[in-house]
Amino acid sequence: MAEQSTITFIITRQNDPNSDPYEETFNIPYRKNMNVISGLMEIQKNPVNANGEKTTPVMWDMNCLEEVCGACSMVINGTARQSCAALVDTLEQPIRLEPMSTFPVVRDLIVDRERMFDALKQVKAWIPIDGTHDLGPGPRMPEKKRQWAYELSKCMTCGVCLEACPNVNDKSNFIGPAAISQARLFNAHPTGEMNASDRLEGLMDEGGISGCGNSQNCVQVCPKGIPLTTSIAAMNRATNIQAFKNFFGSDNAH
C-alpha cells in the first residue's frame, strides 16, 4: 500500500539552446522504488502536464542507468547529481528538476558537456603510446600507487563537480576540478609520467589550476568519491615546481 498515489515533478524546460527556460509541472503515478529517470519515462509515455494539457515529452540524457557513465546529471532539488541514482522515496516533494546551469542547455534537461572534454584536451589527459615501432610492455606501477590512482580513474566526466564549483561559471574560464584530477592520474602512470610536463603546462595555461579558490565543494559532491581536493593540492605542488624548473632551468623539466 503506497501512502501517496502520485508524485509531482516541477521541471525547468527549454525548447532549444536559444529559447527561454520555463517551468512545467507533472503529476505521475507513484510506484515503489522509482528513481527520477523512471519518473521521466512515465512523462515520456504520457506527456500531459498537471493542468491536463498535452505537451512535448521532457528530454533528458542517460546511458548506463547505474551511475557509471555520467550522462544523466541534473540539478535535483537544488543539488547536482545523477538522476539514475536519485531514488524518489528519498527526495522531498515536489521534486524539482533543472538542467545543470554551468553547461549550455541543448534541450530540457540535456546539457552539452563539451567544455569538460576541451579541458581534458587542455591537460592532455591521455597517454601517447603510438609510435613507429612496438614499444613493448610498459613499466609496472607500485601496487600502493595503483590503488589510489584507481580511485581517480573512476571519473565519469559527469560535470557535477563543475556545477557545484563557484569558480566554474560564465565570468571565468576555469576548467574545473575533474580535468585537474585527470592530469594527476595520467602523471601518476609510469608511461604517462614521460609527458608529465605537457600536462602541467596545460594546467598552467589560461583557465587552468590557478582558477581554483578552494571552496572544496567538488569533493563533497563527487558521486565517485574522488579525492578532488587532494588532486588539486598535488597538482598545485607539481605545477609550482614545474614553473620554477622552467624559469631557472632544469634537466628534469620533461
Binding site: T79, N169, G207, N214, A238
Partner: protein, 206 residues
Amino acid sequence: MAGQREYFYRRLHSLLGVVPIGIFLVQHLVVNHFAVYGEESFNTAAGFMGNLPFVLLLEIFIIYLPILYHAILGVYIALTANYSLKNYGYFRNWMFALQRITGLITLVFIAWHVWETRVQIGLGNAEVEYSLMEGILSSPFMLWFYLIGVISTVFHFANGLWSFCVSWGITQSQKSQRVLTYVTVFVFLAVSYLGVRTIIQFAFGV
C-alpha cells in the same frame, strides 16, 4: 608561455597575501599592542618603525604596492565567483565566501584607515602618536568600524594562510588540511586578540 600569465598573476597574488602583506599585518598589530603597556611604550615602538631608514621606500615596496596589487586582483577574483551557500552549505564553501567578503570589507577599512592616519601624517596634519588613535577611537562609530575592520582583516589573513598552503601545494592530504584548519583558527583568535586588545586600550584607556 604567454598563456601562463594568469597562472603567474594568481600565484603572485597568493604569495603577496602572506609575504609581505600578512607579515606586515602581524608586525603592525604587535607594534600597536605596545599601547597596552602605556602611552610611552607605544610612542617609542611606533616612533622606531616610523624612523626606520628609507621608510617611504620600505612602505611603498613592502606595503602599498603589494596591497594595491592584491586588492585589485582580489576584487576581480571576488566578483568572478558564484556564491552558492544555499545549495552547497559546506564549511569550506562558507570560508570561500567569507574570504571574499572579508577581502572587500578589508579594502574599505584599509583605504579609510590609511587616509585617516598615514596620509594625514604625510600631509603634516597629524603625528604618529598615541593621541591620534585615542582621538579616532573616541567616536563609537569609529570604534565599531575599527573592530569590524580589524577582525575582518585578521580573518582574511588567517583563512588566507590556509588556502595559501593549498595553493602552494604544502598541505596536500586531507589530514594536513584539517590540522591546518585548527592552526589557522588559532592564528585568527590570537592575532584578533592582539588587535582588539589594542583598540580597547585606545578607546577606553584600559
